[in-house]
Amino acid sequence: MYRILFREDLTPDIHLFKVEAPQIARKAQPGQFVIVRSEERGERIPLTMADWDEKEGSVTIVFMEVGTTTRKLALLNAGDSILDFVGPLGRPTEIGRFGTVVCVAGGVGVAPMFPVARALKARGNRIISILGARSQELLFWEDYLRSVSHELTVTTDDGSYGRKGVVTEPLKELLETVEVNRVIAIGPAIMMKFCSLTTKPFNVKTVVSLNPIMVDGTGMCGCCRVLVGGETKFACVDGPDFDGHEVDWDLLMNRQHSYLDEEKESLELWEIKISGR
């Protein structure tokens, strides 16, 4: 059992847990993930680590309520425990001295981007961040990301905060005006796809953090397989970071949506259970 030390609601549907996991905290690196199973009947889901604290022995995860598993997780509070918490899994993000790095974070993707940008900045890179969300209510950690960036632009789809529009617009302007040595994009698949399409003509290496469905998260099942440069890769052990220009995005999104009907059925059943309590 892994105790929740601290909980914060970042938006009504996005939550932060600090989880007691000292051994994972000691080994964690930017870009790695944990597999979480909240209770006996729960699914195993991957969540990229948002932060960790070796002294405190904690790992921070941030998640949005979207399905049964995340709804169940959201019922937990500080002092409660998560049944299973496995990590740190996946290969760490490459933290090199690249020059100017544009970090594009979409939605909940700002959470895993934070430690990546922090490490890249500490390594001496110039960090220009772009943070995008559908609207102001879904924005969080703008201050965190700003603290590890030299520049930051915020966009919202509806214009309720920052610049109105999507992240690819400021990204394109940067590519046209500044010498960009690397782009890192973390967020929904569709956002990472369009970031990769945007950078492709500029021939700027674009690293994306893929988020397919996983089961074990250790290379055993192959559920998370993705096609990168025409080769099948397992996101859990070969990734989750890949070259965005090489990823077959449509395949990834199809596979992510494999269980939409079941997810709906499961959630409906859960809502009936919860309302009966």
Partner: protein
């Protein structure tokens, strides 16, 4: 004067659930012997002076001795004899290929049918579980010798090695990557062939010896083998198991609703997807399912698919029935339940439909040519025989290759050209001092009992090594 009884040359049959019934449930197929049946079968044993059955057992179970105790109705003694050599008798009684190991060496095999050693082993193990009041009093734990050993993986190799060393006083910690102990016995072999409570009872026995099992510990990630050695463990035994599933490398293989057998079985067995939506992990089965491969895992996957509600299940295999690696018993069980075999059939590509879901499989017929390096006749495509099977789900059961996590996290560990860890078969030693290896990571995919044999041999060698260090 007692009447001299003639030995019955046929074995006592074991009842099974009817095929029509069992193909729709996950309860155990084979129902086990009653006491009467077990004694009758045990009475067939000739009690050979030089028992050959024993020589066929990778963990050297004292077979005639436990059978003798059984027929003397001394069940606690039968349990004791069995468990002194085999910490997982309930598992082995169910899933060992006895027909190629102990039973094939039984003298009665040539006269009729060999003694049903596996069934008797299962009977004794099940008796123990049913009589905790008799067996519970035993003290399993021995005094610690203060030496610590790390075991990576809680499958058959890891559990056996851990149990053997714990019985000799070592303090053993098993590191298991998943959230339950048992490895392939939990995620791979289905409930209807190996009930999970049987596995957990045997895991509990290993724990009762003093073995600590740390779940959710992926060695190579949370700690490397070198770090374990630096943290007070005298040696490390690596038994992380089968690793990564192999695919066909044909077009369309990443379409939705195409599973590796590992994923399909893990969802079903470990995550209990057959109880969805009561359990949260879903699985796709409906309509027509194609299982590709001819081994035991293909049989398990096809039979799971039936039980999950598939309409038709095809096993697609490129060679003929004779070359199929699956146990005859499992193949028969699958056929009885209605699994359809398409032999001499080679998959060429998957075709996709709506939303990137698989909708058909293009295949061609095969002929058998000259034997290849495996000794089996090589399958050769027959030109102009392409055809299409409509399917809704596919399961690829082609075996596994080694998982890269431990090799990449351990410097100085020599690998074979297949990517397995180079291991001395007799001792389990690797190229790296203080690190042993066994099970599928050393040999490539094999059986539960051969992994247990490797665990036993490594334990003996680790014992000798650490004794020398005292």
């Amino acid at each position: 004067m007692a009447e001299k009884r003639k030995t019955n040359l046929s074995r006592v049959p074991m009842l099974k659930q009817e095929a029509e019934v069992r193909k729709r449930n996950f309860y155990e197929v084979a129902l086990g012997y009653t006491e009467e049946q077990a004694i009758e079968e045990a009475n067939r044993c000739l009690q050979c002076k030089k028992p050959l059955c024993k020589t066929g057992c990778p963990v050297n179970v004292d077979i005639p001795e436990f059978i003798e105790a059984l027929r003397e109705h001394d069940m606690p003694e039968a349990v004791r004899i069995l468990k002194s050599k085999n910490s997982l008798p309930g598992v082995c009684g169910r899933v060992c290929p006895q027909e190629t190991q102990c039973e094939i060496r039984c003298l009665l095999d040539k006269k009729g049918a060999p003694v049903a050693i596996g069934r008797l082993e299962r009977y004794v193990a099940d008796w123990e579980q049913a009589h905790p009041e008799v067996m519970g009093k035993q003290k399993n734990r021995v005094k610690s010798n203060g030496k610590r050993v790390a075991v990576v993986g809680s499958g058959p190799a890891g559990l056996t090695c851990a149990a053997d060393l714990a019985k000799r006083g070592f303090e053993v910690t098993i590191f298991e990557a998943l959230h339950v102990a048992g490895g392939v016995l939990m995620y791979g072999i289905p409930e209807f062939r190996l009930p999970k409570n049987v596995v957990q009872a045997e895991v509990d026995y290993v724990k009762s010896l003093g073995v600590e099992i740390k779940l959710n510990h992926v060695i190579g990630k949370i700690a490397t083998p070198d770090e374990l050695l630096g943290n007070g463990f005298g040696t490390v035994f690596l038994a992380p198991g089968a690793g990564a599933p192999m695919f066909l490398n044909i077009p369309g293989e990443n379409l939705s609703n195409i599973y590796s057998a590992n994923e399909f079985l893990t969802r079903t067995n470990l995550m209990k997807a057959y109880l969805f939506p009561e359990y949260d992990t879903p699985i796709k089965v409906g309509g027509r399912v194609a299982v590709i491969g001819g081994g035991n895992v293909a049989m398990d996957a096809s039979r799971c698919a039936l039980r999950l509600g598939a309409g038709e299940v095809y096993v697609i295999y490129r060679r003929s029935r004779i070359e199929m690696p699956a146990r005859a018993e499992e193949r028969e069980n699958a056929e009885e339940e209605g699994v359809l075999f398409r032999i001499l059939t080679n998959p060429k590509r998957f075709l996709g439909g709506e939303q990137g879901r698989v909708k058909a499989l293009e295949c061609c017929d095969m002929d058998l040519g000259e034997p290849d390096e495996s000794g089996r006749r090589r399958p050769i495509p027959k030109p102009g025989t392409d055809f299409i099977i409509d399917i809704d789900v596919a399961i690829v059961a082609l075996g596994t290759r080694p998982n890269p996590i431990i090799p990449t996290a351990t410097e100085g560990l020599e690998l074979t050209r297949w990517g397995t860890i180079k291991t001395d078969e007799a001792t389990g030693r690797t190229s790296k001092e203080r690190i042993w290896c066994g099970g599928d990571m050393a040999t490539g995919a094999a059986t539960v009992i051969s992994a247990m044999g490797a665990g036993r041999r490594a334990a003996a060698d680790i014992y000798a090594y650490l004794q020398g260090k005292s």
